[in-house]
Point group: C2
Chain length 331, copies 2
């Protein structure tokens, strides 16, 4: 049997209410009694039961984090930002992988609600009406991280993916390239679409007619970067510049190019996206879009705490700054 608040109360000759007060730092306790209670808490090794507390107070100090894949170098960095800030505000994280599968996502949201989380941090591909409906089945704040809700009804923290992709493409264009290729993600997510739009805008602005052959779909993996190069090679000759929607995939592209006997950046320039740690773990080092993953997680969590505390939120949609980092994979 565990020590309960009742045991402490009895041993300290006070009421449960008083023990509760000292445990929760309520100032309305005479210093003497506080001392006395603290001493017997210490002596008995009393540890408050958070579940009981949660039931009584309707607050669990736990937030749910739904993430596509924690083993991804991108999302694990985001998760770290989330957890650090959560800790700072005394929240714990229930972490679940969704694999960006809608059914999983919906189920996970439900599970989180059953567990009575005080808030949800959601990362995913696409926010559908079903998602929104599911979110609305409970009165719990939700913040999206690196994820868009087209209806703008849910708070979110992102960078401007369209602008970032535009700038990356433009950088390639300014180096004199005629028509950079684009290795995209699956294009099924909103973020993918934005990146694609940015790429297109840069080409349009330079009066370049889009060549669909130069757009290859990948799945963000290293392998798919390798594959993308093969696919582009089938056009007869590799394009002299390739913009890749994620760093890991970009490493695949770099190695694919090198494996085919060509040089980066002399023969083929490669531009990445995210600035994960991988970007400096390759030769030549990868020019890329700097996306502050950790900060996105941290800011999203901070925003969520504001909602959970019912603080006033001035900015529901936060756009964090990004920038271009030029390294050795481009001219």
């Amino acid at each position: 049997m565990n020590i309960t608040i009742y045991d402490v109360a009895r041993e300290a000759n006070v009421s449960m209410a008083t023990v509760s007060r000292v445990v929760n730092g309520n100032p309305n306790v005479k210093p003497t009694t506080r001392k006395k209670v603290q001493a017997t808490i210490e002596r008995l090794g009393y540890r408050p039961n958070a579940v009981a507390r949660g039931l009584a107070s309707k607050k669990t100090t736990t937030v749910g984090a739904i993430i596509p894949d924690i083993s991804s170098i991108f999302f694990s960095e985001l998760a770290r930002g989330i957890e650090d800030i959560a800790r700072m505000y005394k929240y714990n994280i229930i972490l679940s992988n969704s694999d960006q599968n809608k059914e999983n996502e919906l189920k996970l949201i439900n599970t989180m609600y059953e567990k009575q989380v005080d808030g949800i941090l959601f990362m995913g591909g696409t926010i559908t009406e079903d998602h929104i409906n599911q979110f609305n089945t409970a009165n719990v704040p939700v913040v999206l991280a690196s994820t868009y809700d087209d209806t703008q009804s849910i708070a979110a923290v992102n960078i401007d993916y369209e602008a970032a992709a535009y700038e990356a493409t433009k950088h390639l264009l300014e180096s004199g390239d005629k028509h950079p290729a684009f290795v995209s993600g699956t294009l099924e997510t909103t973020v993918d679409q934005y990146k694609y739009n940015g790429y297109k805008r840069a080409l349009e602005e330079a009066s370049i007619t889009l060549n669909e052959d130069l757009i290859v779909k990948g799945d963000y993996s290293y392998e798919s970067g390798l594959d993308a190069v093969k696919q582009l090679a089938e056009l007869g000759k590799l394009p002299s510049a390739i913009f890749v929607a994620a760093d890991e995939m970009a490493l695949g592209v770099i190695h694919g190019v090198q494996d085919s006997g060509l040089k980066v950046p002399e023969d083929v320039q490669v531009f990445g996206f995210d600035n994960t740690r991988l970007a400096t773990m390759v030769r030549p080092t990868l020019s890329t879009v700097v996306q502050p993953m950790y900060d996105i997680g941290a800011v999203a969590m901070r925003l969520l705490t504001k909602y959970m505390n019912k603080e006033e939120v001035t900015e529901k949609n936060v756009t964090l700054p990004h920038r271009i980092e030029v390294r050795d994979s481009t001219l």
Copy 2:
């Protein structure tokens, strides 16, 4: 106000107990009543409150995972294994980063216990007596993953790090190398010590006198791999083979060697450890020790479920198989 089991009972003209039974799949319910109850659950959108359930049943179906750093490519893979199996057994994971800081670890164990987790999955550097004492403040099963407890009192899932390091070193020796260097971790953790011991044993067995200058401490980061090469270069000439205690650090070593104008493996062979995805994301691809991170997490979680269900456990200390994967960074 939320729908409670009481509301469902009233609307369905049954008792709370019956509703509880159908929610929990208890077979002692007449099919007709079950249907009726299920219908009104559906109609009212009733969602069981896991916190109340946890208080009443003393089971939360939640396990705590204490991990050094979720943003590490190694641990995030482990975490994925943990979560997948947890999901399979209907458990949720509370995930916290410890940064391998003892004080954090002890505090986190306490927090997990406050939250009434049904079990703990612990990953860390060193298990001290304080850890064991802390674990013993609650009657909750604990399993270590990729972490050793020298007293063998806690269940654990590992590979044989000593043997793995021995084999890796031996492989280098058999390629004709006189005295491979060793880039270790901080040597403060038990796993580090085992790797070191394996390295030493291979040298001893080959009657090679250990040269302390050829042992460089790193911190498992890419940067520290780069640094290690610099440090070794100060000896006048780089050794012709380097065994590195982790893949990410090994990439640093490879690039350090290449940046200095030498070739891998012709001038310097490099051997890694872990077989993270990074091993194939470098040129030349990295020869390394295959450690099944995902499986370690998965098996550890599975083991924990056995303890939580009070199933009989035959093997308290699980050693998963490892192997050597020879790629292009060695001759």
